[in-house]
C-alpha cells in the first residue's frame, strides 16, 4: 500500500485503502467528491445499509458490550485489512 495514496475507503465487499495517488479521475470517489466511497456505494443489491449493524447484533457476543459503535471501521482498519503486496521499492535506505 502506498503511504501517499488516497486516504479514502474503497472496496465492494470490504473496506480497504485506495491505491490511487490522486483523486483526479477516480471512479470511486468521483474526483474527490465522495468522502467515503465504500459506504456510499449504491450497487449492493438488497443491502441498503451494508456497513451498519444494529446494536442487538452485538448483544451476547463474548467480550463485547454496549450499544455504541466506538470501534467502528476507520481508515486504519481499511489499511490493515490489506496484506502487504510484494515490495516494489526498497524500504530500508540505510542498507545501501
Amino acid at each position: 500500500m502506498n503511504p501517499m495514496g488516497c486516504p479514502r475507503r474503497t472496496g465492494f465487499l470490504f473496506p480497504h485503502g485506495c491505491d490511487r495517488l490522486t483523486s483526479i479521475g477516480c471512479p470511486d470517489c468521483q474526483n474527490g467528491q465522495v468522502e467515503d466511497p465504500y459506504e456510499s456505494r449504491a450497487d449492493r443489491d438488497g443491502y441498503d445499509d451494508y456497513d451498519t449493524y444494529d446494536s442487538s447484533s452485538y448483544a451476547g457476543v463474548e467480550g463485547v458490550g454496549g450499544a455504541e459503535d466506538a470501534a467502528d471501521f476507520n481508515e486504519a482498519d481499511g489499511e490493515s485489512l490489506v496484506r502487504p503486496e510484494e515490495e516494489e521499492f526498497e524500504d530500508d535506505l540505510t542498507e545501501s
Partner: protein
C-alpha cells in the same frame, strides 16, 4: 492474453491462472468468437439448404450424377454445421456470468493477483438419482449435475474466495396420451461459495456470525440451502431457478458472507478496544 480459439472450439474448456482483468478480456474474446462461429453455422446451413434444393431438382430432372453428390454433400454440411462449436455457441452466456463475477471481485483484489478459472462449455452430466415418475404413463425422472465453473482468487484482505457454479438438471421421460415418447428437461443452478478467512484479521466467526439476523439476502428465485461458519471458513450454498438471476445471486451471496466477515472484524476491534 489471446485465447486459443481452436482449442476452445474442440475441447470446449477455458482454463487459466491470470489476473481478473485478463479473464474479463478473455471472456469478451470468447463471446466474439462464439458470435463468429454462430454466424458461420448459419451461413453453412443456408449454403447446404441451397445445395440440397439444387440436388433434389437435379435428381427430378434426371441428372442423378449431379443430384446425388449434391444431396450427400448437403447432408454432410448440415451435420458439420450442427456439430461445429455447438457447445460454446449454445452456452456463450456463461462468459457473461464469469465476466460479471470477475468485475465484482476486481475492486477487492490486487491487479497482480492471479485468479484460477475453469469454465466448461460442454455439458458433462453426473447422475444423482433416477426414479419412476408415477404421475405420467411410463414416466421416469433422472437428476443430474453439471459442474461448469470454478473460480478461485485471493482477495486483498487475505481471504481465499472460491466460487462454484453447477447446473442441476431434471430430465423426465414419459408417454403422452397419443403414445408418443416425450422428454422434458428443466435446469436449475447451484451456487457454492467458500471464503477461507484469516482468523487473525476476522477472529472466530462461529459465534459472531450467528448473531446476525438474516445476513444473506438473495433474489426471489434463489433459496439458501446451507450456511456453515467454521473457525476458518464460511460456506454458503444456494439454488437458483431463473438463470437471469444467477449473477445477482453470486453477488448477493458474496455480500452476505462478507457481512458476517465484516461484523467479525468489528467485534474483534471492539474486543481489542475494551
Amino acid at each position: 492474453m489471446a485465447i486459443d480459439a481452436e482449442r476452445l472450439r474442440t475441447q470446449c474448456v477455458y482454463e487459466i491462472e491470470a489476473p481478473l482483468q485478463t479473464i474479463v478480456a478473455d471472456m469478451d474474446e470468447i463471446a466474439k468468437a462464439a458470435a463468429k462461429w454462430k454466424a458461420f453455422r448459419t451461413t453453412l446451413r443456408w449454403i447446404c439448404g441451397g445445395l440440397l434444393a439444387f440436388g433434389i431438382l437435379s435428381l427430378i430432372s434426371g441428372y442423378w450424377y449431379i443430384g446425388l453428390p449434391g444431396i450427400a454433400i448437403a447432408i454432410y454440411g448440415f451435420v458439420y454445421a450442427y456439430r461445429y462449436a455447438r457447445d460454446v455457441v449454445a452456452r456463450a452466456k456463461r462468459c457473461e456470468t464469469v465476466k460479471s463475477l470477475a468485475t465484482l471481485l476486481a475492486s477487492d483484489t490486487s491487479p497482480k493477483a492471479d485468479a484460477t478459472v475453469k469454465l466448461a462449455f460442454k455439458e458433462v452430466r453426473h447422475l444423482l438419482h433416477d426414479e419412476a415418475f408415477p404421475l405420467r404413463r411410463d414416466g421416469r425422472q433422472s437428476f443430474f449435475t453439471d459442474s461448469w465453473l470454478t473460480l478461485e482468487v485471493q482477495l486483498l484482505d487475505g481471504v481465499e474466495y472460491q466460487q462454484t457454479l453447477t447446473d442441476l438438471i431434471r430430465e423426465r421421460t414419459f408417454k403422452n396420451p397419443r403414445g408418443k415418447r416425450k422428454t422434458k428437461i428443466r435446469t436449475h443452478h447451484s451456487v457454492g461459495l467458500r471464503l477461507t478467512y484469516p482468523p487473525e484479521v476476522y477472529g472466530d466467526l462461529r459465534n459472531s456470525g450467528a448473531k446476525l439476523s438474516q445476513p444473506v439476502l438473495l433474489p426471489p428465485s434463489a433459496v439458501l440451502k446451507s450456511k456453515k461458519v467454521t473457525e476458518s471458513d464460511i460456506k454458503l450454498k444456494a439454488t437458483v431457478r431463473i438463470s437471469a438471476e444467477l449473477t445477482r445471486t453470486c453477488s448477493m451471496m458474496a455480500l452476505g458472507a462478507y457481512r458476517i466477515l465484516n461484523f467479525g472484524r468489528k467485534v474483534s476491534s471492539r474486543r481489542s478496544a475494551s
